[in-house]
């Protein structure tokens, strides 16, 4: 082993430095390529469709960014939006995570300051791909801290194209997650970096990065729970050090202070249960630090005595504090936890108590195929990565393992949190692949050099052999040194730290040396397994490209279908929104199910009753109740809300499955949760929602049914619903309180107008007239009858 390495490294230290420099350049170049890859793989949506904002939430973010770029930051903080949640309105500045908006707004401002007149929309569309490139660089840094450059590059490359992350960050998917994943990984990197160096500089940066994460996404609670867990793990496993203290204590203090600055978080940063774990661990850390300090001062005997004293007193105090906390927490109805967090801890919670959380498809638990779809071969590589993390276990690698385990749990609860799992899976797979390649190539190198040594060694030249033999010892020691310096972080450190690090790395690097000698595989086996691993990587790349191109690039506001005649475009949503925005009064109120709220305000610029920010359950329930009520009752509810137009999404004509009839059960359930006169069983036949001939009369008379199927039967004469796959129950009916004002080309969006209230006096007169005419006619008949009798 030593000989060939010595041969390679023999010619003086200068080429070694050159090789390092060359390695650095190569590494930087690879990182640039990885960034380009991450950016460009997300452009399928722009190429296949168009440069447009996707889905629902991004439209809100886009609208906020437009407001920000137009009115400036101070107006933004004070923005009260009266175009949504009518008549309540919404304080946008105080209820939105501003990170994404501010980021895109600054990019827009910066680019325009350079006289490149990009529109806000363009900036918003490309924010996510840009940040995914940055996120893959952050992944490189994080993995490098744990397992070195090779693993870092591997992990960055894997993250650049992991489908789970692509699904949330394709061009146009302008959502919080796009920047939050970068912030998440970068915060973890700075934490690990601080843990490795013990530098207060990185600790401060870490708090700032955490602040950015808090600005960006509600998922910051994951950080503020995971890091304390890791700290606790370190303490429990006896890995406490002053570096751990520096890594954690400033984060809690600075981080919490900074988090409280974000209006949407505010005092929640100290008041809600999501943050309590961090404070508890903060206290524990101080206790442990104090114990270590005392331990250093006292003799072992004295220390033992003091220990018992402190533990008894301390335990008593702790119990008292815990009891008070428990009592406080238990007194609040949700135990101090928000609904979403509770549904994380107890996966069945939402479906039992909060239908509005359960109604969102991305809050459902994922199915097994979705794991394969979203992280693909990483699912198989991750266990190997865990094993590799334990060889040897460092603070950083234990953090990786902990991150992975918690992320796996959360992703199992909510399909949306698959996104948090993705970086962990990428990092561990990168580690796994890197160490596998490491072992394989080393054994190949070793075996090959053995093969070559058998040849040239016999006919070998005298002088180099002799010199190499004499320099074996020195060069091998040099080699060790270079390896050490490679393993140690290259950043400038204080001397103290460097010394400590040397100790650590030395203790670390001695072990693998021994193992390296042991783990030499046969040449054939290593070649074959290298090829297999490359094939596996190739399979992963193919899958990722396919996922990016086919599965995740559809903007969902414009649908396409391929038929024999070519591409057919379904652009009904924008057709309807464009109609609304040009042909209704600017202050008209439009009612629809909350899914379409953001799009209606952003694209049609009309006031909506409810939107995707589901903060007021009662208001949503009101709309749900109206949709599931008979026409007259619904008209009254809508009229009381000043609604002028009602918008429904109907897929029955073209077979678009996520339409309002399929979402109807949630309208009934949410409506029934607040207004008990809506009873779910009234709409069910044999426990199923049906709209065919077996449907219940309540179902067939509710507003949603009528608005969806109004004159639908006349299209084909039978009223065959292509989504449900059967003929509808009630075919011919008339609307009395609503009139159709617009239906899109494929009938996917239908807009109705509330008929004005009938003139009451005239109505009375009519009634009177009809009554009088009735009586007169009966009288007349009576008179006529009489003569005959």
């Amino acid at each position: 082993m030593a000989e060939p390495v010595a041969n390679a490294a023999a010619p003086a230290p200068a080429p070694g430095r050159l090789r390092n420099a060359f390695g650095g350049v190569l590494c930087a170049f690879t990182l640039i390529l990885i960034g380009v890859l991450a950016f460009s793989i997300r452009l399928f949506s722009v190429i296949k469709y168009e440069s447009v904002i996707h889905e629902f939430d991004p439209y809100f973010n886009f609208r906020v960014t437009q407001f920000l770029s137009k009115n400036g930051i101070y107006e933004f903080w004070n923005w009260f939006d009266d175009r949504t949640w009518y008549p309540l309105g919404r304080v946008i500045g105080g209820t939105v995570y501003p990170g994404l908006t501010l980021t895109a707004g600054s990019i827009w401002w910066f680019v325009n300051a350079l006289n490149i007149p990009l529109s806000v929309e363009t900036v918003c569309v490309f924010t996510a791909p840009i940040f995914s490139a940055i996120a893959s660089w952050a992944t490189y840094l994080l993995t490098k801290e744990a397992k070195g450059t090779g693993a870092g590059l591997m992990a960055a490359a894997i993250l650049a194209m992991v489908p789970s992350y692509i699904s949330r960050s394709v061009a146009g998917s302008y959502d919080n997650e796009a920047v939050a994943i970068f912030a998440l990984v970068f915060t973890f990197y700075l934490y690990v970096k601080t843990l490795n160096t013990g530098s207060l500089f990185y600790a401060t940066l870490n708090a700032l990065s955490y602040f950015y994460m808090v600005c960006s996404w509600g998922g910051y609670t994951f950080i503020i729970n995971l890091i304390p867990m890791h700290v606790l793990l370190c303490i429990v496993t006896g890995r406490y050090s002053s570096r751990l203290y520096i890594a954690y204590a400033p984060l809690v203090i600075l981080g919490t202070l900074l988090a409280a600055l974000v209006p949407v978080v505010g005092f929640n940063a100290v008041l809600t249960s999501e943050h309590f774990a961090s404070f508890l661990v903060f206290i524990i850390l101080h206790v442990v630090a104090f114990v270590y300090y005392i331990k250093g001062l006292l003799t072992p005997r004295l220390f033992k005595m003091a220990m018992t004293l402190v533990i008894t007193v301390g335990l008593a105090v702790c119990f008292a504090v815990v009891a008070i906390l428990v009592a406080l927490v238990a007194s609040s109805p949700t135990k101090g936890w928000s609904g979403r967090s509770l549904s994380l801890l107890d996966p069945t919670y939402a479906s039992k108590y909060i239908p509005i959380i359960a109604s969102v498809s991305e809050h459902q638990p994922p199915t097994w195929p979705s794991y394969f779809m979203d992280i693909n071969v990483l699912a198989f590589l991750v266990p190997a990565g865990i094993i590799s993390c334990f060889l040897p276990l460092s603070d950083a690698s234990s953090f990786m393992v902990l991150y992975l385990v918690t992320a796996v749990y959360f992703s199992g609860v909510m399909v949306r949190l698959m996104l948090v799992l993705a970086p962990a899976a990428c990092i561990l797979s990168g580690i796994a692949l890197s160490s596998a390649f490491d072992v394989l190539t080393r054994s190949m190198k070793f075996q090959l050099s053995k093969l070559f040594d058998d040849g040239p060694a016999i006919s070998g030249n005298g002088s180099p052999n002799g010199s190499s033999a004499s320099t074996v010892n020195t060069s091998s020691s040099k080699n060790e040194k270079t390896e050490k310096s490679e393993a140690a972080p290259k950043e400038k450190q204080s001397k103290k730290n460097r010394r400590k690090d040397k100790e650590v790395t030395e203790s670390v690097s001695v072990k693998p040396k021994k193992e390296k000698r042991l783990s030499v595989l046969p040449l054939e086996a290593s070649i074959v397994s290298t090829l297999l691993l490359i094939a596996l990587g190739g399979f992963y790349v193919v899958h990722c490209v396919w996922a990016a191109a086919e599965a995740y690039s559809a903007p969902s506001i414009v649908l396409t279908s391929r038929s024999r005649e070519g591409l057919h475009v379904f652009d009904d949503f924008r057709e309807a929104y464009a109609w609304l925005s040009h042909n209704t009064d600017v202050d008209d109120k439009v009612a629809s199910w909350w899914d379409y709220g953001y799009q209606t305000t952003a694209m049609a610029n009309r006031t909506v009753i409810v939107d995707n920010n589901t903060w007021n359950n009662t208001h949503i329930a009101t709309v749900g109740t109206a949709m599931s009520s008979p026409e007259k009752a619904a008209w009254e509810i809508f009229d009381s809300l000043d609604v002028k137009y009602v918008l429904v999404v109907f897929g029955g004509l073209v077979g678009y499955p996520s339409d309002d009839i399929n979402k109807f059960l949630w309208m009934v359930r949410i409506g029934g949760g607040e207004f008990p006169h809506i009873k779910e069983p009234d709409y069910l036949r044999d426990g199923q929602y049906r709209v065919d001939a077996q449907a219940t009369p309540t179902m067939l008379n509710c507003l949603m049914y009528k608005l969806c199927y109004y004159r639908f039967v006349e299209t084909d004469g039978k009223g065959f619903d292509r989504v449900r796959g059967y003929e509808i129950g009630k075919k011919h009916f008339k609307l009395t309180h609503f009139e159709e004002v617009f239906t899109t080309h494929h009938w996917m969006v239908r807009i109705y107008k509330l008929k004005p209230q009938k003139n009451r006096i005239r109505g009375k007169l009519k009634k009177l007239k009809s009554q009088s005419s009735k009586t007169s006619s009966t009288l007349a008949a009576g008179r006529k009858k009489n003569p005959w009798q």
Binding site: N115, V569, D571, N583, R711, E739, E740, F742, T743
Partner: protein
């Protein structure tokens, strides 16, 4: 309908009073008017044979229009040739004049002749006038199933300050139903052509109101505002961006819009609507796009050959009476086709108007973005315009 009748009565009274005011030395020996009502833009071609019966040479010919027509007058052109037979005609300059002693209800234009008309000579004068908003929908609100009826009001006599010896009026209708028309003697309706006349020896300022009420389902596309941006890049491209705000200017839709009816019987239910517009772009137009503020609009077709590029665009939804929409089309043109240089200066020679066919533009703003550092800017337009210059920050990448 009362107004034109009253106006006509007033005019008839005025005729006597102001007949003397008109210059009696010119006589229109023949006036043939052809009115084209096939689209919503009314084009009137008046062929006049003007004779100088006086002794003095005449250098100006007056053309009179009632104010209500003059208000809607979009363009007026006059072509004149002197002599017995029609030869090569030349464009005559036209200006608004206010001769003394004429009724205030009339607006006068005068066509200046290149050389004065001598005594006894004959001038052939072709006057082309284009009117907008001339056809009034009646009834003003129709349902989806109704077809659109419009009213056209004019005089069967040519309104002129000069006596007219022989005159005819023919009105071309778009075909379809004719609800009613004013019948005088000599009125004929053949196919879709309505003929009045010939009338002989009509005194000056004679106004004889006629009303034609007929079906016209041609697209009443009105651009409330059109902003054209012409951006010149010295990289070899003239980029044109046009922002349209289009409204259907015909009879307003009342009641429901049923997509079912529209799709199953488009010609019976929705005949008054229009769903596409055609733009004739210059040849070699490239990089054509069609979008609105919420993204690309996928319903458009493009044909191109060496002479023109034809773009058919469909708005997101069919436009019924009173419905509006906005969209933007943009295209690039090769620089050498439109910019040429002479005397160390560069000239841009490009049209003001919209490439859309049969569209009426109420307000047109043309912005020409010149490359950085352009100076001595000089504009010549064929008609009066409001002009202003702005200095806007230029692109870093382009230009």
């Amino acid at each position: 309908m009362a107004t034109p009748l009253r106006l006509a009565a007033l005019l008839l009274v005025l005729v006597a009073a102001f007949a003397s005011a008109a210059r009696a030395d010119l006589v229109v020996s023949r006036a043939d008017r052809k009115v084209d009502l096939t689209s919503h833009i009314v084009r009137v071609l008046t062929s006049l044979k003007v004779e100088n019966a006086g002794s003095e040479p005449v250098s100006k010919v007056l053309l009179a229009f009632p104010n209500i027509q003059a208000k809607n007058l979009a363009a007026i052109r006059a072509f004149g040739t002197e002599g017995k037979v029609k030869g090569l005609s030349s464009v005559l300059p036209i200006e608004v004049v206010e001769p003394s002693g004429v009724p205030p209800e009339l607006t006068f234009f005068s066509a200046s002749l290149h050389k004065p008309l001598q005594k006894g000579k004959i001038l052939h004068l072709d006057v082309l006038t284009v009117f907008t908003h001339f056809l009034q929908p009646f009834p003003e609100e129709i349902t989806q199933a109704d077809s659109q009826l419009v009213v056209f009001q004019d005089s069967s006599h040519y309104l002129s300050p000069y006596p007219v010896k022989v005159q005819t009026l023919s009105i071309r209708l778009p075909g379809g139903r004719v609800e009613s028309y004013t019948k005088y003697g000599n009125t004929k309706l053949v196919d879709s052509e309505l003929k009045y006349g010939p009338y002989e020896d009509v005194p000056p300022f004679s106004y004889n109101p006629i009303i034609v009420h007929f079906e016209n389902n041609n697209p009443f596309a009105v651009a409330k505002e059109l902003i054209r941006e012409i951006e010149i890049s010295h990289w070899g491209n003239v980029q044109i961006t046009e922002h349209y705000n289009i409204v259907h200017g015909g009879a307003r839709l009342k009641g429901e819009f049923s997509r079912l009816d529209y799709q199953s019987r488009p010609y019976a239910r929705g005949v008054s609507s229009f769903r596409h517009l055609i733009a004739r772009l210059p040849a070699r137009a490239h990089s054509i796009y069609y979008r609105d503020e919420i993204g690309n609009i996928s319903t458009s077709h493009l044909w191109s050959d060496s002479k023109k590029t034809q773009l058919e665009i469909e708005p997101r939804f069919p436009l019924f009476g009173g419905w509006q929409t906005t969209f933007t089309i943009g295209y690039g043109l090769p620089l050498q086709d439109f910019v040429f240089s002479a005397d160390g200066k560069r000239f841009l020679n490009i049209t003001f108007g919209s490439p859309m066919e049969e569209i009426l533009i109420e307000k047109l703003i043309v912005k020409v973005v010149l490359p950085e550092g352009s100076k001595d800017i000089d504009v010549s337009a064929p008609f009066p315009t409001n002009q202003w210059q702005e200095v806007v920050p230029h692109w870093t990448i382009d230009n």
